[in-house]
């Protein structure tokens, strides 16, 4: 330090004889931010998860779902929308990832035109990516407050059109693999990690039971925004109803029921409709901000963001890598976590996790989203986020997607487990 101090003393302009006082090392700014610069989660809401094509949201356009949650989040905390620096919406199936749809939703919610919006598509992780984008904007100082959302209607749109692809696709193995249906990749994982049909069915059953218990106990009531919708039946008759509860949770499922189902993707496969997620409709929104700005506005702080991205070797086994990484980043140990939540589209992936649930964790919760959302999980990860926000326990959320995995940790206290 002495050399540094001496040489630094040479640099004072005009040259004073005294060296610069108080030289000390300071942490690089890209490590932990100071408390006032931390990205904090303020609040979040979601719609119920509707069963696509057959459920209550089957005739509802995604802008209406999105508008409902955006309005609700801001009204709950009493924040005027003109305070938002940016809004990011995750979406997969709408044209252009729903950019126009999102702007319409904006105005349906009465947002002023000066609040910008953009959409993002990272397949199943779109909602979570929206969260990270907003967090990144806050962290880099571009905005103080932002809204991260996700929305999908799998009733009105499906995965049909892959877009304009090169004819050279067929000659490129990896490019060809992009077109593999997710169900087939689930089979690949099951085979590679030797996850049997029985294991997957058992997991699915467990998941259904827990989801039903959670729903019936009213755990989700606080976070769900009731949405009034119109549903058209086969004869064309319309009726209005208010959607408050998640659909597709099959409370009475038994192992025998599951065992009877035929494999959905491969004749001799293990993945069935029973141990896969359903296709669904829904939306969610989360309000994030820079801690200093949030506290200045008198808004609550529910958690601090610690994020680790893990590149996949195989889709789905990332949590084994992501869990330790995220814990380390948040400065927590496995035993500190009350609840581990793992979102997976397929039971094969969850079962393929080595060593099962970590010891010391009180319960391993599989959010209804696990079983209810499949290909388009845009809002799904946000749903889990909300569950965590309302559960006031130390919570580690792991979401998987086609492309990569995240861990999200929160803490009950406003100070939070510091990142």
């Amino acid at each position: 330090m002495n050399r540094l101090k001496l040489i630094s003393g040479h640099l004072s302009p005009g040259g004073s004889a005294a060296p610069l006082p108080d030289l000390r090392s300071s942490d690089c700014g890209c490590a932990a931010p100071s408390p006032e610069d931390e990205v904090v989660v303020v609040h979040g809401r979601r719609t119920a998860i509707g069963k696509a094509k057959k459920g209550s949201f089957k005739d509802t356009t995604p802008d209406e779902l999105l508008s409902a949650v955006m309005t609700a989040v801001l009204e709950d905390v009493g924040l005027s929308p003109d305070q938002l620096g940016d809004v990011c919406v995750g979406n997969v199936l709408q044209p252009g990832a729903g950019a126009l749809m999102a702007r319409v939703a904006h105005f349906l919610s009465g947002f002023p035109e000066k609040v910008p919006v953009y959409t993002v598509n990272r397949q199943c992780s779109s909602g979570l990516q929206a969260l990270l984008n907003i967090a990144g904007s806050i962290r880099s100082g571009s905005i103080q407050l932002g809204l991260a959302c996700g929305v999908e209607s799998m009733s009105l749109r499906s995965m049909g059109d892959p877009g304009d692809l090169s004819s050279g696709l067929s000659a490129n193995a990896k490019a060809r693999d992009c077109l593999i249906p997710m169900g087939v990749t689930s089979e690949n994982v099951a085979e590679r990690f030797r996850v049997s049909r029985q294991q997957q069915d058992a997991f699915a059953l467990d998941s259904q039971i827990k989801a039903a218990r959670a729903r019936d106990s009213g755990r989700f009531d606080q976070e769900i925004v009731p949405v009034s919708v119109t549903v058209r039946d086969e004869s064309g008759r319309e009726r209005r109803l208010e959607v408050r509860k998640d659909e597709g949770i099959r409370a009475g499922t038994t192992l025998e029921d599951l065992a009877r189902l035929r494999p959905a993707f491969k004749p001799d496969g293990t993945t069935t409709a029973g141990n896969s997620s359903q296709v669904s409709d829904g939306a969610a929104a989360v309000l994030l901000g820079r801690r200093a700005a949030v506290e200045e506005l008198g808004l609550p702080v529910l958690g601090v963001l610690a994020v680790v991205g893990v590149p996949p070797h195989l889709m789905g086994v990332g949590p084994a890598l992501a869990i330790p990484a995220a814990l380390q980043q948040a400065g927590l140990k496995v035993n500190d976590i009350d609840v581990f939540e793992i979102n997976e589209a397929f039971a094969s992936q969850v079962s393929a996790l080595p060593s099962g649930r970590p010891s010391g964790c009180r319960r391993l919760l599989l959010v209804p989203g696990t079983q209810l959302i499949s290909i388009s999980m845009s809002p799904c990860c946000l749903f889990s986020l909300l569950w965590m926000l309302f559960s006031s326990s130390r919570y580690l959320l792991i979401c998987s997607s086609l492309l990569f995995l995240f861990c999200f940790s929160s803490s009950s206290s406003p100070i939070g487990s510091s990142v």
């Binding site: 050399r3 540094l4 003393g9 040479h10 640099l11």
Partner: protein, 340 residues
């Protein structure tokens, strides 16, 4: 046309360069890891070729190396000063390890100089422990320790004219002139209000000394009258790291600075700044004229990607006032006198 040759050495930051008094194409460079703040050091012996700069020999040292000086007696021998307070004697012909290591200074050695008076063969070292030490060419025990500076010593240079006479520059803002035999300070000049990082003797006038300071100025002093400088050369925007008088001209000197430039001055002119060279991308710490090739200057910066940058300033013509015959014997080349 200014032409340049560059030697690159990743992971090392150059602190000092000196041209060999014997071999016209040879250079020695002292360099340190991590900008000299911490880590180890390296000593390089380089040869310039027509196409570039070639490594002849290199050695590693456990601490950073901050200065180097060639022997005036033996073309293979050099001395370096290190951050651990040691001086090392190296032989480029033979050894892998230093010939000799002398550790008496208690802090970083920032300056080493080999006396040019052949009869003397003494080494002077200046250290952050505020002392200047005098050694014989074998680096045995020091022959004298000159105390008096109230700040770190950055530079200690033998007079080329007066035997047993050293000038030193210090963080206490003074230029001191020492009589080695008496081990006493003959003159203390409060030359700058800021730290003085470098000094050098004029090769043609035994009374002239230049100082380069953190106050961004180079001053030329006549030791017979130190109430004010003969000339004050302004232009650098950051601290002057090294000054060197030209071996070919009484009034020409070069300075290098933390402002990434090397500047050439002629204090005999009304507008003294001759040229500014901006090829470096880091603090420029090392500077030397080539005794054999006029207009060839080597400068050295802290940038790890380059070691010496050898400038051939053929386009710069200097007004000279030395007898042509003397010129002839020194360099065998003819100067043009030109008034710009």
């Amino acid at each position: 046309m200014t032409t340049m040759k560059v030697f690159r050495c990743p992971g090392r930051h150059g602190y000092a360069v000196e041209a060999s008094p014997f071999l016209p194409n040879r250079l020695a460079c002292a360099a340190s890891q991590f900008y000299g703040i911490t880590g180890s050091g390296s000593l390089f012996v380089l040869d310039q070729t027509e196409t570039g700069v070639v490594l002849v020999r290199s050695w590693q040292w456990g601490d950073g190396l901050f200065d180097v000086a060639w022997s005036e007696a033996n073309e293979h021998v050099l001395v370096a000063g290190g951050g651990d307070g040691s001086l090392q004697l190296w032989d480029s012909a033979n050894q892998n390890a230093p010939l000799r290591v002398a550790k008496e200074h208690t802090q970083e050695v920032y300056s080493v100089d080999w006396s040019q008076t052949r009869a003397e063969n003494l080494i002077a070292s200046g250290s952050w422990d505020r002392c200047v030490k005098v050694w014989d060419q074998n680096l045995g025990r020091s022959l004298a320790t000159l105390r008096g500076h109230e700040g770190v010593v950055y530079s200690s240079i033998w007079s080329p004219h007066i035997p047993g006479c050293i000038a030193s520059a210090s963080g206490d803002g003074t230029l001191r002139v020492w009589d080695v035999k008496a081990a006493a300070c003959r003159l203390a000049v409060p030359a700058h209000k800021a730290e003085i990082l470098s000094c050098d003797w004029c090769k043609y006038d035994q009374n002239l000394v230049a100082t380069g300071s953190v106050d961004c100025s180079v001053c030329v002093w006549d030791l017979r009258n130190v109430t004010q400088p003969v000339s004050q050369l302004l232009g650098h925007s950051y601290a002057i790291r090294r000054v060197k008088f030209s071996p070919f001209s009484r009034t020409v000197l070069a300075s290098c600075s933390y402002d990434f430039t090397v500047r050439f001055w002629d204090f005999g002119r009304r507008q003294p700044l001759l040229d500014t060279v901006e090829h470096h991308s880091e603090f420029v710490c090392g500077l030397d004229f080539n005794l054999h090739v006029p207009h060839q200057v080597t400068s050295l910066s802290l940038s790890p990607s380059s070691l010496p940058v050898v400038d051939q300033l053929k386009h710069t013509t200097h007004e000279v006032s030395i007898p042509l015959s003397l010129l002839g014997s020194l360099s065998g080349l003819f100067f043009l006198c030109n008034n710009n």
